[in-house]
């Protein structure tokens, strides 16, 4: 049933408009476009054929990307079941959200993860995948299965694993780009928008190929780099592994010709190279294992007229091209090159090596060292920068040192990724190439220490340590590094992160109060047959305890009706009520009363019949009480003569035959005395037969064939208009049914001036109804009931000229019996009148008093 929102009328499910007010009813079924099955509105897939009911176009997608980052091709729409966007777009802003979740949203908004002013924030909330990237793993339920990536700059306060980042930092965007085509839609849709790029799990700041991370160098330069002390150790180490190796690899390649790098440094570089991704290791192996210069580098060397390697003792420092930098002389750093970790036999460091060394050891660079480092790169490398890219000023960048951040240090360090850019570009997926990123010639690279194991444990809470990816803590669980550990301040975990502290529970167990939803194998797609790959996300994340998360305003009448239905349904079936098949007491009383009345009537009538003397006549007819119609009828019949024709219309049923025979008897005797002929007619089929049962008159015959006038009033009208009717001198209607008597009167009136004189003999029941007709002058005379029939006899017999004739016709005995019948009828009338009075007073006093 569908309750009309306008009038509250309940309608059938199949109705589209209210049957009461006509208002449009809310749609409760959605027809499957494939099989036609009606599904509930909330279904996204058909219950029968599993076809999609809600088209992807129906789901409001995030706004179209407006920058180069979102111009990537191959981004597919999210095909996973999504929540209702209209209602949940504002879910993060809803006051019904739990406090901890609302706080999370506020914090993320504050940190720029969610921009409430932009539509993209809404899109983030709409897309579960994106929302999952915003929320921590344990909150979003991803469990750390999402791909690695992201930008630490954009998520400065959230580690990767908290921002839904990868638990596998080694995976790179290259792999993701390569698999982009084969990725499921929800993965392919991640880089669809700005926020997607921003909210993508951050990638460790590896200085790989430009544009590989999808972030412009300017953005990185302009962003405030978070202090490393705010990051957990495992993340810091994880971040340092890949870029450090890459950087050192670049250094190695840069200094390879100079052979100024010590063997220990080379060994360190080699060790770090082991942490490189495969593709980087392959590149490094190719370059290290052979003297073959890559083609692109060879071409560049030829074009730019590389100087002699010996003359170029420095490394290429990006951003310093055009500044007249000069290579740092090896002997300029002899002091700090004698550091213990480098070794006394270490060759003099170049400017860049000095910077690296400072990073490793901590401390600050002097302006002279910075200048030498800036001048360390050769001119031919400085010319590698695209001509159309303006030389950006040296950005202020926080540089990660070994122990403490070195603020204000101006470091321009080109990452080896720049050198490996051509190779890396080949591995970049199309969608990243389409971003058209600017080569990061001026990218301030965060120089990370080469030995993250030396990093101190920055007071990481236990619960964060537990949640850290495996292997991270192992790498950071070494002895505290010497030197700057006392300089490090304890990591400050924001309050909102503290609020996210999960309760201890078994690994893989769902959060308390959440039902474990099964994850069936994927029915189709690249993940076909795999179960548990994609997190199950229900349309409505209903807690297991059933308590509503949001307070929905339900009208009180609806609640009352629901409660009533619940009570009725839960009400146990009662025992069958005993049914009394006997008559109720009131009917028994009525039956006894009926018996009493019958006995009184019978006793009275038989007593009158047997006990009243023969000569005593109770029913007397006073001449003053005779109705005027009786003498008028006598007079009208007296006008008839021998040979005249009288039509006898018999319009009574057999039930009134006894009464009508007594009414008609004196009239027929009078007609017989006048010597008239009679025709019998009736609009009732049985009327003619009843007419023949009357005392026979000489010459009586039926009208027409058998005297039946079919058609009621029409038949009567037809008879009265027949040519044979011209022979009729008078019509005598004997009837007990007022309607049929009126037909005769009305149709006779239609004859106008040729209307027949009509006499009427009626039963007692029809007399009162036809009294207006009798008094209107349409009839010559009338007799109603036995009393007037007796009056007719009295008029003709008692002292009148007709008396003797009647006595001869019917005999004295008949006349005496007739008088006794009237006596009995009078007694019956009085008895009934007495009973009516008793019943009246009984109802007036007894029953009303009982009420």
């Amino acid at each position: 049933m569908i309750r009309c929102p306008s009038c509250g009328t309940f309608n059938h499910d199949s109705q589209r408009v209210c049957r009461s007010c006509g208002s449009a009813l809310p749609q409760t079924r959605r027809r499957c476009p494939e099989c036609g099955t009606l599904n509930p509105v909330g279904n996204l897939f058909c219950d029968r054929c599993n076809a999609r009911l809600v088209e992807v176009e129906d789901i409001p997608s995030p706004p179209a990307p407006d920058n180069a980052l979102n111009a990537s091709g191959g981004v597919k729409g999210i095909s996973l079941p999504t929540r209702s966007v209209s209602s949940e777009a504002e879910a993060p802003q809803s006051p019904e959200l739990p406090a901890w979740l609302a706080g999370l949203v506020d914090e993320e908004t504050e940190f720029g993860l969610l921009d409430p002013a932009s539509d993209d924030a809404g899109s983030v909330a709409q897309e579960p995948g994106l929302a999952a990237s915003v929320l921590p793993d344990w909150l979003s339920g991803d469990g750390g299965h999402t791909a690695a990536g992201g930008d630490a700059v954009d998520t400065p306060s959230l580690p990767d694993w908290l921002t839904g980042g990868a638990d596998d930092p080694s995976s790179s965007r290259r792999d993701a780009a390569d698999d982009d085509v084969a990725l499921p839609d929800w993965l392919g849709g991640l880089p669809e928008s700005d926020d997607a790029a921003q909210l993508t799990p951050p990638v460790a700041p590896e200085p790989h190929a430009p544009g590989d991370d999808g972030i412009s160098p300017e953005g990185i330069a302009d962003a405030e780099i978070i202090s490393e002390s705010e990051l957990p150790d495992w993340l810091r180490q994880t971040s340092s592994v890949v870029p450090a190796s890459g950087s050192d690899g670049a250094i190695e390649r840069a200094d390879e010709g100079l052979e100024t790098v010590s063997a220990e440094s080379t060994e360190t570089i080699a060790d770090d190279a082991m942490a490189l991704p495969d593709w980087l290791q392959q590149i490094a192996a190719e370059e290290a294992g052979s003297e073959q210069v890559p083609d692109w580098l060879s071409a560049l060397t030829v074009e730019k007229a590389l100087p002699e390697p010996e003359a170029d003792t420095g490394v290429f420092v990006p951003g310093t091209e055009g500044t007249g930098s000069t290579p740092i002389e090896a002997d300029e750093g002899a002091d700090w090159l004698s550091a213990p970790d480098v070794g006394a036999a270490a060759p003099p460091e170049s400017g860049v090596e000095r910077v690296v060394h400072v990073f490793e050891e901590g401390g600050e660079l002097s302006p002279a060292e910075l200048a030498s480092a800036e001048a360390a790169h050769p001119a031919w490398l400085a010319d590698l920068a695209p001509a159309d890219t303006p030389a950006s000023p040296q950005p202020e960048a926080k540089v990660f040192t070994g122990d403490a951040p070195v603020l204000g240090a101006r470091v321009n360090a080109q990452t080896p990724a720049l050198e490996a850019a051509p190779e890396a570009t080949e591995e970049i997926p199309d969608w990243l190439e389409a971003l058209d990123l600017v080569p990061p010639e001026s990218t301030p690279v965060q120089e990370l220490p080469a030995q993250p194991a030396d990093l101190p444990q920055a007071d990481l809470p236990e619960w964060l340590q537990e949640l850290a990816p495996p292997g991270v803590l192992a790498a950071t669980s070494g002895e505290p590094t010497s030197g700057a550990s006392d300089v490090l301040e304890p990591a400050e975990i924001p309050e909102w992160v503290e609020a996210l502290r999960p309760e201890a529970r078994a690994a893989g167990a769902p959060p308390p109060g959440r039902a474990v939803l099964p994850t069936p194998p994927e029915p189709e797609g690249p993940l076909e047959g795999l179960a548990g790959v994609l997190p199950t996300m229900g349309l409505v994340d209903m807690p297991a305890d059933g308590r509503p998360a949001l307070s929905v305003g339900v009208p009180d009448p609806v609640v009352a009706q629901a409660q009533l239905w619940q009570r009725l349904l839960e009400q146990p079936r009662r025992a069958e009520r005993s049914i009394s098949y006997g008559r109720p007491s009131t009917q028994r009383g009525t039956s006894w009363l009926r018996w009493l009345i019958a006995l009184l009537l019978f006793a009275g009538l038989f007593a009158a019949f047997w006990l009243v003397p023969q000569g005593l006549r109770l029913a007397q007819v006073s001449p003053t009480r005779i109705a005027p119609g009786v003498p008028a009828l006598v007079e009208s019949i007296e006008r008839l003569g021998t040979g005249d024709t009288v039509v006898l219309a018999i319009e009574y049923s057999p039930a009134y035959a006894d009464e009508m025979e007594q009414v008609a008897a004196p009239i027929l005797a009078h007609l017989d005395s006048r010597g008239v002929e009679s025709w019998v007619a009736s609009s009732l089929p049985e009327g003619v037969g009843l007419g023949y049962a009357l005392p026979s008159l000489p010459g009586t015959r039926p009208v027409g064939g058998d005297g039946y006038l079919a058609g009621g009033a029409t038949g009567i009208a037809t008879f009265l208009t027949q040519p044979d009717a011209a022979e009729v001198d008078q019509v005598l209607v004997l009837g007990s049914e007022p309607q049929r008597v009126t037909w005769w009167l009305e149709q006779n009136a239609l004859r106008g001036t040729e209307a027949f004189p009509i006499g009427v003999g009626l039963s007692a029941s029809a007399g009162p109804v036809l009294a207006p007709y009798l008094a209107s002058g349409q009839v010559e005379g009338w007799v109603t009931g036995l009393p007037q029939a007796l009056a007719y006899r009295e008029i003709r017999g008692d002292g009148h000229e007709y008396g003797d004739a009647d006595l001869r016709e019917y005999g004295d005995a008949d006349l005496r019996e007739y008088g006794r019948i009237l006596d009995l009828l009078m007694i019956a009338h009085w008895s009934v009148a007495a009973l009516l009075l008793v019943a009246f007073f009984y109802n007036l006093f007894v029953k009303r008093g009982a009420r």
Partner: protein, 233 residues
């Protein structure tokens, strides 16, 4: 023969009187016998009327048509034709012949139209006009003061009674307007007059019923007297 009639009548009367005990099978049997006999007799009359009279008329009309055509013969044939068409109304439940039932609408429409015309004209000329004239006829001084008073009373009571059948209140511009008090008083008087008239009708019906009862008891008493006289020798 009279004795047989008296005995059968007395038995049927006692069976009908058994309803005083309860609604029993004997009462129902007697009731069914009475109703069935009446309906059967009516059906026999109708069949005889149609089959015998009309067929005879139609045969005469056809015979006459071979020689000369008379108007009465044409009307008889037309009546027979319309009567035959009316039989198609009996095929409404049949699937194929049911489509022919619309043919029966022709005589049915004729019957309804002609019957309505006859009834309306008869009611106008035989009921409304005569009764209206009779109501005003009494209001004349020619017959004396007493008939005049009676005529006035008849006129007033007739008008007051007719006022009862007007609505108690009427709507004017969507608002129910009650009648004035004097009008409501007249209507109450009219209702009382109607109650008296219905009481008279009830009394007449009761009188007819008592007459039937008395006549039946009289017949039983006559039968019993004859039996006693026969038994006494």
């Amino acid at each position: 023969m009279d004795i047989v009639g008296l005995v059968v009548g007395a038995v049927l009367t006692l069976l009908i009187f058994s309803y005083l005990l309860s609604d029993n099978a004997l009462y129902r049997w007697a009731l069914a016998l009475v109703v069935g006999a009446a309906v059967g007799y009516a059906a026999a009359i109708a069949v005889r009327f149609v089959s015998h009279e009309w067929v005879a008329r139609g045969d005469a009309a056809l015979r006459t048509a071979t020689g000369q055509i008379e108007v009465s013969s044409l009307t008889t044939v037309l009546s027979l034709l319309l009567g035959c068409l009316l039989l198609f109304k009996g095929f409404t439940s049949s699937r194929f012949l049911g489509r022919l039932s619309v043919v029966g609408n022709i005589p049915l429409g004729y019957l309804v139209g002609a019957g309505a015309a006859v009834a309306v004209s008869g009611a106008l000329m035989g009921t409304i006009m005569p009764l209206a004239l009779a109501t005003g006829e009494g209001v004349r001084l020619e017959h004396g003061l007493l008939p005049l008073v009676q005529g006035v009373i008849a006129l007033v009571t007739t008008i007051v009674t007719l006022l009862v059948f007007s609505t108690q209140a009427r709507r004017w511009q969507g608002v129910e307007v009650e009648r004035p008090g004097w009008r409501q008083g007249l209507q109450q008087i009219g209702e009382a007059l109607i109650a008296v008239a219905l009481g008279a009708v009830f009394a007449g019906a009761l009188s007819s019923a008592l007459t039937a009862l008395v006549m039946r008891l009289w017949q039983l008493a006559v039968l019993l007297g004859r039996v006693i006289s026969l038994a006494g020798g």
